[in-house]
């Protein structure tokens, strides 16, 4: 009897199982690849190898005959492929353009700055034509100003508005649906609220642009139609289903024995919900809010369409605002492949990836910590 025929007898099965294992690693591979390939395009910025200075050492056109192709390609700032596609005439033209640009730009005292250096990316600078040192994001014309502070403030401001609007609503609804509503009402309330997640963000952006902006302007009577408030409220609509779903799950997975014990002691339904169920579900509720934060920071289309997109440093929610995501979406298509603007935008993408990655991880850590504390392991 072949009782010992194990895997050796099924080489195909063994192979398939190996294959399943390999495919299962795809998710890990993808997270890794996302980080590597977004960061790869931004690497020169992190290493300080990009240079946006217009005053560079200029070579006379005749030099093109004495330089090696590699040196020439590097001087002109081209990729190997782009360089291969050029004939000698075009190269000569490019060299002339470079000389022209350098002489033209040298009138401005800022022209010699490498604006992609970290001190300009995050610190204020006294630009020509400004009264005092300022944080400016203005990657246009000759001197590209790449200060990311206005964008960070913009993202955080819109996110804050979104969370202030959506978290109370979503948590209130989660408590109502999981604790107070009748079974029958719960059966249609939960999917209805989650249907909000089915509305594409571009539609929310459209709604904010055409309906919400007018409505809020009438309500508050401010000047510009599009601002952080409009974008934040619309963004809140995208955040509500995220927070609701996770919080509702957390609340309804609190053991029934807690609820029963509390009710048997004579607590009312709301006391049970507020004093027993909510504290027990707190890790889940916390995770819901953190994931809501991540969603708000990362959402693109809503803010691109509804925030007004002016990159100004301002604390007012009635001012037009530009976020990190909207900046990438709006500007990447117009950049030169491999240029400093392109690389700075990928740097913003890397930053965004790190922010969401860390907030996800932190949420996970806090949840494990709180859970072990609740289970009496402290």
């Amino acid at each position: 009897m072949g009782l010992k025929r194990g895997h050796q007898a099924h080489p195909i099965e063994w192979l398939v199982e190996r294959g399943i294992f390999l495919v299962a690693t795809t998710a890990i591979l993808m997270v890794f690849l996302i980080f590597v390939f977004v960061a790869r395009e931004a690497l020169p910025v992190f290493l300080g190898q990009t240079n946006s200075s217009l005053v560079q050492e200029v070579l006379p056109v005749e030099k093109m005959n004495t330089l090696t192709p590699v040196e020439l390609q590097k001087y002109l700032g081209l990729s190997a492929k782009q360089y291969r596609e050029l004939d000698r005439e075009s190269i000569r033209a490019l060299m002339e353009v470079k000389i022209e640009g350098a002489t033209e730009a040298s009138h401005d005292k800022d022209a010699g700055l490498n604006t992609t250096a970290w001190r300009y990316l995050i610190g204020p600078h006294q630009w020509t034509g400004y009264e005092r040192p300022a944080y400016i994001w203005q990657p246009v014309s000759q001197i590209h100003k790449y200060n990311i502070v206005p964008l960070l403030i913009g993202s955080l401001k819109v996110t804050l508005v979104a969370l202030l609007f959506s978290v109370p609503l979503a948590l209130g609804a989660a408590i109502y649906v999981s604790q107070l509503a009748s079974t029958r009402a719960r059966e249609w309330l939960k999917p209805s609220i989650e249907l909000l997640a089915g509305i594409p963000s571009v539609v929310l952006g459209f709604f904010a642009l055409l309906v919400l902006a007018t409505l809020l302007q009438k309500l508050f009577g401010y000047q510009g139609r599009l601002n952080a408030l409009v974008a934040g409220v619309a963004l809140g609509l995208a955040v509500i289903p995220v927070v609701f779903s996770i919080a509702e799950d957390a609340l309804s997975s609190v053991p029934r024995s807690y609820t029963q014990a509390a009710l048997a002691l004579g607590s009312s339904r709301w006391q049970t919900a507020w004093q027993i169920v909510l504290p027990a579900a707190l890790p889940g509720v916390f995770a819901a809010v953190v994931l809501g934060f991540g969603r708000a920071m990362g959402e693109t289309m809503v803010v691109l369409m509804a925030s007004g997109n002016a990159s100004i440093v301002s604390g007012s929610i009635f001012d037009s605002t530009r976020t990190i995501t909207a900046t990438i979406a709006a500007e990447l298509a117009e950049t030169v492949f491999g240029g400093h603007h392109y690389r700075v935008l990928f740097m913003l993408g890397t930053l965004l990836f790190i922010i969401t990655f860390v907030s996800n991880l932190a949420a996970g850590q806090v949840i494990t910590h709180l859970k072990s504390r609740m289970e009496g392991k402290r």
Binding site: E13, E17, G19, I20, V23, A24, T26, A27, M30, V31, L33, I34, F37, V38, E41, K81, E85, G172, A173, Y176, V177, L189, P191, S192, I193, L195, L196, A197, G198, I199, P200, S201, V202, V203, G205, F207, L210, V211, L237, S268, W270, A273, M297, T300, M301, M305, T325, I328, A329, L332, A333, F346, G349, L352, F353, T356, F357, S359, N360, G364
Partner: protein, 319 residues
């Protein structure tokens, strides 16, 4: 110790309770929050259906945008419907096998406590949290600038065929984005299958793989279907990931090859809302386009909700 024997508290009537204001306020506020969310949902849907329904016509969904993109009487959305459908179907082909196999590994093979399983899980969670615009950057940096350009280097010399935005790259980018959706939905349905079923099959002498293929997977089919529908619905409305990986502002021809760019419903909504020279003139076509997009995504969501509800009921009966 209260040694005063048999001093049970004196009789108190059960009815002496005042109106419970706190209870009223609490239920009122949470109920109001619920009501507000539903109301907002209805306002959005109602607004789009009411205003979009007026300009929606058969001609609108069966013709292209040859003459004037912003005029509802002349333009249509057929190329966008085709583009969106194509990228979403292609994405499903990419994501479904990978997602289902990952879920199978997690439920049927992996030890739930092993470090490796934990890493896969946290990778899936993190993937779900990556902003959609970052997926767009990834698609550009990895699929187009890395894979595409290397493909061109090998296949086409100096021609650029794959090293530029294309249908296949947009679909692959979306597939990476929706992987967690498929894994989570499939895993849920796999976990709900009673282990007795697997044991019965194994006890009959079936191998693990046979058990999975013949017993487990058929039971999990509704879950896999739900995952696929949710992934499609999520991807159909996403614009940010395809901004740099495949969507085109305008194309004279429909996409026929994997390396072609395409027009897209969601991207078209974005263009119509932000690039129009006269928003009042554009309003009708904008509403109609949004309605088409919403019908597509919401309908898919509703189907997913029903399939899932039925699946859960059936599984409860099984247990």
């Amino acid at each position: 110790m209260s040694a005063t024997a048999s001093t049970a508290p004196a009789l108190r009537p059960f009815r002496s309770r005042r109106f419970d204001l706190a209870s009223f306020v609490f239920s009122g506020l949470t109920g109001l929050a619920t009501f507000l969310i539903i109301a907002i949902l209805l306002v959005i849907l109602g607004n789009v259906i009411y205003s979009g329904g007026a300009s929606l016509s058969w001609r609108f969904i069966t013709s292209g945008t040859e003459s004037d993109m912003f005029d509802v009487r002349k333009a249509g959305v057929l190329p966008m419907i085709i583009g969106t459908t194509a990228r979403v179907l292609l994405m499903t082909i990419f994501v479904l096998p990978v997602g289902v196999i990952t879920a199978i590994y997690l439920t049927e093979y992996a030890a739930s406590t092993s470090r490796f399983t934990r890493v896969i899980r946290s990778a899936i969670n993190n993937l779900a949290g990556v902003p959609s615009i970052v997926f767009g950057l990834f698609g550009l940096g990895f699929f187009i600038n890395f894979i595409g350009q290397h493909l061109d280097g090998v296949l086409h010399g100096t021609d650029t065929v794959w090293g530029k935005p294309a249908l296949v790259w947009a679909s692959l980018t979306l597939a990476v984005m929706t992987l967690p959706v498929v894994v989570v939905a499939t895993e849920e349905s796999l976990r709900a299958i009673p282990s007795g079923l697997r044991e019965a099959s194994l006890a009959l002498g079936a191998t693990k793989l046979q058990t999975i293929a013949k017993i487990v997977l058929p039971q999990a089919l509704p879950g896999i279907l739900t995952g696929a529908i949710l992934a499609i619905s999520r991807a159909a409305g996403e614009v940010a990931p395809i901004l740099f990986t495949g969507a085109a502002y305008y194309m004279a021809d429909l996409p026929t090859r994997l390396s072609d760019q395409f027009m897209d419903l969601g991207y078209h909504v974005f263009i119509l809302s932000t690039q129009s020279p006269d928003i009042e003139k554009t309003r009708p076509i904008l509403y109609a386009t949004v309605l088409v997009l919403l019908l597509l995504t919401i309908a898919l969501n509703v189907v997913a909700i029903f399939v899932r509800a039925r699946m859960r009921r059936n599984l409860r009966m099984l247990q």
